[in-house]
Subunit: 338 residues, 2 copies
DNA sequence: CTGAAAGCGCTTACAG
DNA sequence: CTGAAAGCGCTTACAG
């Protein structure tokens, strides 16, 4: 690979002039610039990223920390990865994807060695053991998800509470008085997946206010347990008129389960859920749903992070941002006669 | 962050001594080493990755090129990502994940700027437009998948031909004479997904040799088209005794489809497929299958790549490696009476 | 409008 | 067993 020195020599200028031509940080005469450009093209010169990082203290790389849980429905993860990666590229950043089982250690490793300018943390839990590392590291970070303590950190997540209220209100407006809620599997709660209770509790609460009984259950993460659990839950509540599903694995399996039971939606049962547009497409789900907007979350997380990297002062104090969910009516909720 | 100079000063030695203590590339007295180790721990020193890369011309990062196709069943992709990432970490490498729509340009970018020491290419097509870039770049690469022209490149893939023969032979051994094959969707062929014909053609051929009629069809990538296509295909061949599925979306939907038709496997129909163990678990699939071994492919691709990075001479000429598939009998093929 | 020089933080021959 | 120095390839004050 040619270096900036090769370009300079061949163009008959100094290395600094080539550098400034590249960065545009000072004015260069038309002819010099043209000559430099020509030589760069001839030689196929690309600046060495490591050297540039060393000189500028900027790597133009963001760390993306993922955790794969063996007991989880896999398609969920991917929904964040692509939007994050694309948003980063648009802003000139590459993505260092880190999947170490020891996330806290990995953060220190990529942070202290200055491999990245910032970090995006996925799949954040209530008591996430990675947060201390994150705070100990020079680089700013953005969490996707909501931990118990967000001190010194930026976080962004869907407003699950608002999502729950929207759904319950939609059901109330259509005359429903008894509904069943299927949350993510219980092990997600144990792991500290706060979105479980941040959705469930307001759903129950808002139901109470509106005179709706909400029977809350945990779902399963995989077939065939998913199917049998739904059967069991529906068997237990024959008078419920609607099913609220906050669990990807369950909703993906639902069409088959309902067909088995001879249930037609919304004639025999109303269904509302919470999933992303991508997910709905992937599994061709016909249900009214609050959109979890993984792409919006991913994109905004990156925007936030880059903003804080480039202009920490202007980024202001650390904060939690909640993304307002949008209910997309696909007609799977029946209007009951008073 | 403290630098190697800070450590040296505090330990009362030269920077080179600290460096050698870190790398172990020359012997250091017991006391000096202990002193250095203590100071490193005290200061929390971690070498700067950019500086090290500049000095050694090694970044200890591998590029992983992914392509997301909007028309594809998403869970497939993820199966490779984790094994690649874990294998890389075990060997001391991090992963730069690149999802640019313009893969060829991205390869040049991360290659020419020396951001990576090597590249793993996923989702390789027959006429992959990224291969020219790959050849133009200094770094070695390993493809997962098989292009038409592998000149100057290492590639690794499942031996789809052997997989097809194993399956057909398994059916033949159990007395089947007429079977239906569902391949991936036709757009995968158009995109140059050679694994489609590398499986289908030998299946048909081996069938001919063994006196088995193989009716070959393309599947769909999503519900509900997946389901209706299976119904249509089965309707067309009432006398077929077995179904061979080489399509993730189809096999994931199959349990529901067969239940709809009142078909019990293997009583009424035998089913054999081709998928990974992870996939089988994710969707709880009970079918006899040749395992596509995404984890083995990912791991061996990384091993190969790192081998070629560290010792190009010993790595020998570029080659294509085929991974021998293993048929895992789950009892979904019925033995027919002669 | 441009250049010479210092510096970023490492590694590694060269010397002793 | 250890150190002084050069060098990796950039950027950016400092000077003119």
């Amino acid at each position: 690979m040619p270096t900036i020195g090769d370009v300079a020599r061949r163009a008959g200028v100094s290395r600094s002039t080539v550098s400034y031509a590249l960065s545009g940080k000072r004015t260069i005469s038309r002819e010099t610039r043209d000559r430099i450009d020509r030589v760069i093209a001839e030689l196929g010169f690309t600046p060495n990223a490591g050297a540039r990082a060393l000189a500028t203290s900027q790597t133009m790389v963001l760390g993306l920390l993922l955790q794969f849980h063996a007991d989880e429905f896999a398609p969920a993860m991917l929904q964040y990865v692509l939007p994050v990666s694309e948003a980063a590229r648009r802003l000139g950043y590459d993505i260092l994807m880190v999947t170490d089982a020891n996330g806290a250690g990995a953060i220190r490793r990529i942070g202290d060695s200055e491999m990245v300018d910032g970090i995006v943390l996925l799949d954040v839990t209530h008591d996430d053991p990675r947060l201390d590392s994150l705070r100990s590291v020079r680089q700013p970070a953005v969490l996707i998800g909501l931990p118990g303590d967000t001190r010194d950190l930026d976080a962004i997540d869907l407003d699950f509470s608002a999502a729950a209220r929207q759904i319950v209100e939609h059901l109330a407006a259509n005359g429903h008085r008894e509904v069943v809620l299927i949350s993510p599997p219980h092990h997600v709660v144990e792991r500290g997946g706060s979105y479980v209770w941040r959705f469930r509790d307001p759903a129950v609460e808002r139901g109470r206010e509106l005179g709706i009984r909400v029977h809350a259950y945990y779902g399963e993460s995989r077939p065939p347990a998913v199917q049998t659990s739904v059967h069991r839950i529906l068997d237990a509540h024959p008078s419920a008129t609607a099913l609220v599903v906050h669990n990807d694995a369950t909703i993906a399996a639902l069409p088959a389960v309902l067909r088995d039971r001879g249930i037609v939606v919304p004639r025999d049962l109303s269904v509302v859920s919470l999933y992303s547009r991508d997910f709905a497409e992937e599994f061709s789900l016909p249900y009214t749903a609050v959109e979890s907007a993984a792409d919006t979350l991913g994109r905004r997380a990156v925007d936030l992070l880059v903003h804080r990297i480039l202009d920490p002062a202007k980024a202001g104090p650390h904060a939690v941002q909640f993304v307002e969910p949008v209910l997309r009516d696909r007609g799977s909720v029946r209007t009951l006669q008073g």
